[in-house]
């Protein structure tokens, strides 16, 4: 049985779950049925996705329509190697075989737009990761959201979210890709604003939606540009498809009016979509605020869907990036984001916000990896990161769930790491699994994060020092620094949350921290609204009681943690290139040449990670005795800490520039609107007068005239009717008279 033929089922299963839960109210009303449908559909999709992955790994990805691609493959790989001109060296060796099938969708004139799905090695790998992570998140949600009044709605949303992501992965053309991409944008809006009665939540939802939209506009322009050039958006190397070698050659060598090659233009526009969706600088501002959504949503956005989509877009359209000179931009933005976000993460106190900035930073790693030509490394890190970041987010959800027993349902209190401490004693399973996630993210061998991060660092090292590329050197140094910071801030978080003494019995007052502006706003708002709506957004059903100990979460929440922890430990071994292991399975699976393991970069990376952990341990081991204590870093460098805590003021900057500009534009537009209003009103008045004139004409001339005509006709007809007596002799007499008259006329007139 060829499982590829059933690939279309993978997105349709969660989509079907979404439809069933949403449409049939009996399903919607029952928590067990709605979560059962969603989890069941997800389970089937997971089995199918892993089956497809297994089939692809054993038999390869042959299928409909790939014969033509086979011949073009070699040429493309060759071209890819010579295509980049930005002084970077590519490790990318083409996409390999693919199964592609579809149907004619929109036939207009001579062009036929095809819709279908496309499975090759990266798609299969992503499918396996997304389905598994999403399944874990679904199961976790059934515990985490158990007491929420809109439980079923939550499951319908996350099913749609996952379905969009899976549809995007499987899309065989960039239009379908874009449709699913936008569907994800919608779902992120719905889910970040799921607790819409919190003002901060709906603001965060709007912010996420609008910010990503800025990138999406660029991406759409890129798609239009590409369609204009290629006449097709179909993935593949065949004739008339966008990865056709001659086509790439052509757009790589043609220059447009801006003086850059067409391929560079398209790639940069497409990359705008990535910057928005994967929250790269300068459109990163939405991702930390997206923490307002329920924690499983954060996990879904940060691991399996949404942000992965942006990186996947670059990975998917990589030949276009190679054909032009866009990759240095990609590398610089990625590296900058990696360091920038890691610095901010150092000074945050909200457990989810720290993880959010760490996601930004790790996405920067992936984007930078793609930017320096490490296609396989970037994709590898995307996969491993998804597992341990889902684990960390679900772990933080479990922590928050436990904390709420102690500090009540205040997101500010329950998520502040200064109120935690010693949770390893109260929540052992959460603690162990979180430890796994922490070590994986920090890049300690043999955890998954080490292998993938090391591959990125090795690639950039090779490009920079062996290849003599300045960008490679910059990226390598930036990423190494970011890796050190990652280890440091994760140690800070881990130590403060799980070690020391529990401080939640005496939590920080909500507004003790003037520097945390957003958090304070949140606090005020939820206090105002929260007293009345507490029962509504109370996700966990406990009344706001305090002075209880935190407790371990139910099995529905710990089971996904355990599964993900195993992957955080083991997922890296699919590509563990160190000599005693020599596993290059994943690289071969992606049809790439196996990278050589670089002991130097691995040693430096591990050393930096251990240094970061040591530093973090020393600084934060005894830092917080009371929840109101000052952060040691703040004590050392208050100014710097404030800047970092304030996220470099990017939000304020946008508020002062884009926000102000928008306000000003609004005022200006209102003035124009007034003027337009005047014109419109004048036109309306004139129309009214004209109408009255018409009315007069109508009523007195046309109406009356027609009436008179009708009356005259009736009267005449009535008169004439009298002569038609029906008596033959009357007619005869009339004829006689007529003849007589005609005769008289004849006699006397002529």
């Amino acid at each position: 049985m060829n499982l590829f033929e059933f690939g279309w089922l993978i997105p349709l299963l969660p989509l079907g779950a979404f439809a069933l839960i949403t449409v049939f109210s009996p399903f919607y009303r029952s928590k067990h049925i709605s979560s059962g449908i969603a989890i069941g559909a997800m389970l089937l999709a997971t089995i199918l996705a892993w089956g497809i992955g297994a089939q692809g790994a054993t038999d390869g990805f042959h299928g409909a329509g790939t014969e033509a691609d086979q011949t073009a493959e070699g040429a493309e790989a060759e071209h890819a190697a010579e295509g980049e001109g930005g002084g970077t060296e590519s490790h990318f060796a083409g996409f390999g075989d693919a199964y592609q099938t579809g149907f004619d969708w929109a036939a207009t004139g001579n062009t036929i737009f095809r819709m279908g799905y496309y499975i090759d090695a990266p798609v299969a790998a992503m499918l396996a990761m997304v389905t598994l992570a999403s399944l874990c998140i679904h199961i976790f949600s059934s515990g985490y959201m158990a007491e929420d009044k809109r439980y079923s709605r939550f499951f319908s949303y996350i099913s749609l979210f996952t379905a969009s992501m899976l549809g995007m992965l499987l899309a065989d053309n960039l239009l379908l890709f874009f449709i699913c991409w936008e569907l994800m944008g919608l779902c992120s809006y719905l889910l970040i604003g799921f607790w819409y009665f919190r003002p901060s939540a709906y603001q965060a939802a709007k912010k996420a939606f609008i910010t990503t939209r800025i990138g999406d506009v660029g991406m759409m322009l890129g798609l239009l540009y590409l369609y204009r050039e290629a006449g097709s958006l179909s993935l593949g190397t065949g004739e008339g498809q966008i990865f056709n070698p001659e086509f790439l050659q052509r757009i790589g060598s043609t220059t447009n009016t801006l003086g850059i090659s067409v391929a560079t233009g398209i790639a940069l526009l497409l990359f705008m979509g990535t910057v928005g969706k994967s929250a790269q600088f300068p459109l990163h501002v939405w991702l930390p605020d997206a923490m307002e959504g329920p924690t499983p949503v954060s996990a879904l956005i940060h691991a399996a869907t949404m942000v992965a989509a942006g990186v996947f877009l670059v990975a998917r359209t990589y030949p276009i990036f190679l054909a032009g000179n866009a990759l240095p931009v990609v590398a610089i933005i990625g590296a900058f984001t990696a360091v920038f976000a890691a610095l901010i993460a150092v000074a945050q106190f909200d457990i989810k916000r720290i993880l959010a900035y760490s996601t930004l930073s790790q996405l920067g790693f992936m984007v930078a990896a793609l930017g320096i030509g490490g296609w396989a490394a970037g994709l590898f890190h995307l996969l491993t990161h998804a597992f341990f970041k889902a684990l960390l987010f679900l772990g933080s959800g479990s922590v928050i769930h436990g904390m709420e027993a102690a500090v009540g349902h205040d997101p500010v209190k329950a998520q502040d790491i200064r109120n935690m401490g010693a949770l390893r004693r109260y929540m052992p399973i959460t603690w162990i699994t979180y430890l796994f996630g922490f070590l994986a993210l920090a890049g300690i061998p043999p955890f998954a994060g080490f292998w993938s991060k090391d591959e990125i660092l090795a690639d950039s090292f090779e490009v920079g020092f062996a290849g003599g590329s300045a960008i490679g050197i910059v990226v390598y140094i930036a990423l190494s620094f970011a890796a050190f910071l990652t280890a440091f801030y994760m140690t800070r978080q881990y130590v403060v949350v799980f070690n020391g003494e529990f401080r939640g019995m005496d939590p920080r007052p909500a507004n003790a921290d003037p520097s945390e502006k957003v958090a304070v706003e949140t606090g005020h708002n939820t206090h105002g609204v929260g007293e009345h709506t507490a029962a509504v957004y109370d996700a966990h059903g406990h009344s706001a009681h305090q002075a209880h100990s935190p407790h371990e979460s139910p099995w529905t929440m710990t089971l996904p943690l355990v599964i993900l922890a195993l992957f955080a430990l083991g997922a890296g071994f699919v590509n563990a290139g160190a000599p005693p292991l020599n596993i290059h399975w994943f690289a071969h699976f992606l049809a790439q040449e196996a990278p050589t393991f670089n002991w130097l970069t691995a040693g430096i990376a591990t050393g930096l990670a251990l240094l970061g952990i040591l530093l973090g341990w020393l600084m934060y081991r005894n830092a917080f005795v009371h929840s109101t204590d000052t952060d040691p870093l703040e004590a050392m460098a208050p100014g710097l800490f404030r800047v970092l805590n304030n996220k470099f003021g990017v939000d304020e900057l946008y508020g002062a520039t884009v926000g102000r500009a928008t306000d000003g534009l609004g005022v200006g537009l209102r003035l124009i609107d007034r003027a337009v209003d005047g014109v419109v009103n004048g036109v309306g008045l004139l129309s009214l007068l004209w109408g009255k004139l018409n009315f007069i004409l109508d009523d007195f001339v046309l109406n009356q005239g027609a009436d008179t005509l009708a009356e005259v006709t009736t009267y005449t007809g009535d008169g004439m009717r009298q002569t038609a007596t029906g008596k033959i002799q009357d007619y005869g007499a009339l004829i006689f008279v007529g003849v007589l008259i005609i005769g008289l006329i004849y006699l006397y007139a002529f």
Binding site: R721, Q722, A724, K727, I728, Q729, G732
Partner: protein, 112 residues
């Protein structure tokens, strides 16, 4: 004796014949318009036709005695009149059968 052969042409002027025909026509017309019995009306019509016949014959005999068209015309008229009477009487019988009357005043279905 030199007998003066007198024909009707010399003995009777054309105008007299025409007057007879006109009189006959007027009698027929009066009959056709005044009788209430349909059969009477038909008889009046026959009188008018015969007045026409007299005219035709008279004009032929007095003005164009060498041609035959006058004779032929009148023969046609007589034939048509015969046919007309046949059809007319058949209609009268048919009307009588359906309406039990042949009074022309009572047969006014076509009244407007």
């Amino acid at each position: 004796m030199n007998e003066v052969r007198t024909s009707i042409v010399t003995a009777v002027p054309l105008e007299w014949v025409l007057l007879v025909a006109a009189g006959l026509f007027c009698i027929g017309l009066f009959g056709a318009l005044s009788r209430r019995n349909i059969v009477g009306i038909l008889m009046g019509v026959e009188l008018m036709l015969n007045a026409v016949n007299i005219n035709l014959i008279a004009f032929w005999r007095y003005l164009e005695p060498t041609s035959t068209s006058g004779l032929v015309f009148s023969i046609f008229t007589i034939t048509v009149a015969a046919a007309e009477v046949a059809v007319g009487l058949a209609m009268v019988i048919s009307v009588y059968r359906t309406r039990r009357t042949i009074n022309a005043d009572e047969i006014d279905t076509l009244r407007g």
